[in-house]
C-alpha cells in the first residue's frame, strides 16, 4: 500500500454542483480513517461548503489583507505617473487630483515605485477571513471572501499558506476554469476531476481537462452519479487516455446523506469500501506522479 508522507491533492471539476465537495470531503474522511494525517482546505472562498459535511470546530480566525496604495496629498504633485503605470485603472489623476479605487487594485506596488515624490504608501485592505480548526481528526481550513469583495486569488493564497509540511492536503477547488481555479491548482501534486456522465458534465470536463493540460498537471477522473446520463463521458476518457479513478453510483441514499449534511463514507456502510478504494487509487496515482517528477 502506497502511503506518501505528504501530498497535495486537489479536487476540481469545472461544473458547479458536480460533487467536488462531496467527493473531496468523503475522500478526506476516508483517508483520515486509514490513519493518514489529513488537512482539508476549502479553496472555494466565494461559497465554501465543505464545513456543511465536515462540521468543523473553528479554533481561530485570521483576517486576510492585501496592500493597496494610499496617497499623501501634501506630497502629490498630480504628475500622473502612477496612473500611467497602473494596468487596472486603480489609480487615476484628473485635473491634478489623484483618486484611488482600492477594489480595482492588484497590489503590484508599481504606483509606489514610479512616484517621484514618494507620496504613495501601501496600506492593508481587508478582503476576507481564513478559519482554522478541526473536524474529528481532520485538520480543517477554509477561506471566506468578504461580501462585496472580488479578490478571490489572494484569499485562496491565504488558505493555501496552511498546507502542512507533512500529511495529505485535500484542496477543494471552486467551480470553473478561471483565475480562482488556476490559483488553487498552483503547486498541486495531483488533480482529481469530478464529473457527471451527462452532456453538461462532459462539456465542462473537457474545459477543465484542457486547463489541466496547459498547467502540466497529472490528473484522473472520478465519475459522480454513475449510472444515469450516457456513455459519452466514458468514451471521452478512453479516447483521451485519461485514468478513471472510480465511480460513485447515482444512489438516492447518498443524496439523502448529502441533504442531511452527512458523509456517505461515514453513514453508509455499503460505501465505505468504495471510498477507501478510490482514496487508495488516488494516492497510488499521486505517488507514481511524484516518481515521474523525480526521474
Amino acid at each position: 500500500m502506497v502511503t506518501p508522507e505528504n501530498a497535495v491533492i486537489c479536487f476540481a471539476g469545472g461544473k458547479g454542483g458536480t460533487g467536488k465537495t462531496t467527493v473531496a470531503a468523503n475522500i478526506a474522511a476516508s483517508l483520515a480513517k486509514q490513519s493518514h494525517t489529513v488537512t482539508y482546505l476549502d479553496c472555494d472562498v466565494e461559497e465554501p461548503n465543505g464545513h456543511l459535511f465536515l462540521h468543523p470546530h473553528i479554533e481561530r480566525r485570521q483576517r486576510v489583507t492585501v496592500p493597496v496604495p494610499k496617497v499623501d496629498i501634501n506630497r502629490c504633485t498630480g504628475c500622473g505617473k502612477c496612473a500611467e503605470t497602473c494596468q487596472f485603472q486603480a489609480i487615476t489623476v484628473v485635473n491634478k487630483k489623484v483618486l484611488v479605487f482600492p477594489e480595482l487594485c492588484h497590489s503590484c506596488g508599481g504606483c509606489r515605485l514610479v512616484c517621484p515624490e514618494n507620496a504613495i504608501a501601501e496600506v492593508p485592505q481587508e478582503i476576507g477571513t481564513v478559519e482554522i480548526g478541526h473536524a474529528g481528526n481532520i485538520r480543517f481550513v477554509q477561506g471566506q471572501l468578504d461580501i462585496q469583495q472580488v479578490k478571490t486569488p489572494p484569499t485562496i493564497q491565504a488558505v493555501k499558506q496552511h498546507i502542512p509540511e507533512n500529511g495529505i492536503a485535500i484542496l477543494d477547488a471552486p467551480p470553473g476554469t478561471s483565475c480562482p481555479v488556476v490559483e488553487t491548482l498552483q503547486k498541486v501534486d495531483y488533480l482529481v476531476l469530478v464529473a457527471e456522465p451527462t452532456p453538461f458534465g462532459l462539456h465542462d470536463l473537457q474545459l477543465v481537462v484542457e486547463m489541466a493540460r496547459v498547467l502540466h498537471l497529472n490528473f484522473g477522473v472520478v465519475i459522480n452519479r454513475a449510472g444515469w446520463g450516457d456513455r459519452n463521458t466514458y468514451d471521452y476518457l478512453q479516447k483521451e487516455n485519461i485514468p478513471l479513478l472510480g465511480e460513485i453510483p447515482n444512489d438516492r441514499a447518498i443524496a439523502t446523506a448529502y441533504t442531511r449534511g452527512e458523509l456517505a463514507a461515514d453513514t453508509l456502510p455499503q460505501y465505505r469500501d468504495l471510498f477507501t478504494q478510490i482514496a487508495q487509487t488516488i494516492l497510488q496515482k499521486t505517488s507514481s506522479t511524484r516518481e515521474l517528477c523525480k526521474n
Binding site: A90, T92, V94, L104
Partner: protein, 110 residues
C-alpha cells in the same frame, strides 16, 4: 463649453449610448462653435475599470460636461473630482440632447 456625449456612432445624428464607461465613442461637441469630433472610447474594451478610464479620457480631452444614459459609481466619482458635470439623457440623438441641455431640461447625474 466642451461637452462629451456617449455615443454609438461618430456624429450628431448617431444614437446616444446609454452606457458611459463602455460606450463605443465619445462625441466632443464645442457648444460655442458647434463643431464636433468623435474619439473612440479606450474604456470600451477594458476588462475592468472602464468607468475610471472613460472618465479620465473625457477630462483629458477638456470636457466640462458629459451627457450619457447613466453613470457608474467610479466614473461619477472621477468626474466629480475633476469638476465635470454629468447629465442623463435618453434622447435618441446627441443633437436633440444638446438642445435639451441648452434649455436646461436635462437632469444632473453627479
Amino acid at each position: 463649453m466642451k461637452v462629451a456625449i456617449s455615443c454609438t456612432g461618430e456624429n450628431l445624428d448617431a444614437a446616444i449610448d446609454p452606457r458611459f464607461g463602455r460606450c463605443a465613442y465619445f462625441l466632443l461637441v464645442d457648444t460655442e462653435t458647434e463643431t464636433s469630433q468623435a474619439i473612440a472610447n479606450p474604456g470600451a474594451k477594458q476588462p475592468g475599470g472602464a468607468g475610471v478610464q472613460s472618465a479620465t479620457t473625457v477630462v483629458q480631452q477638456g470636457a466640462q460636461a458629459v451627457i450619457c444614459g447613466n453613470l457608474g459609481p467610479k466614473a461619477a466619482q472621477t468626474l466629480t473630482a475633476a469638476g465635470v458635470k454629468a447629465y442623463a439623457s435618453n434622447h435618441a440623438t446627441p443633437r436633440e440632447a444638446l438642445e435639451h441641455l441648452r434649455q436646461q431640461k436635462l437632469s444632473p447625474l453627479n
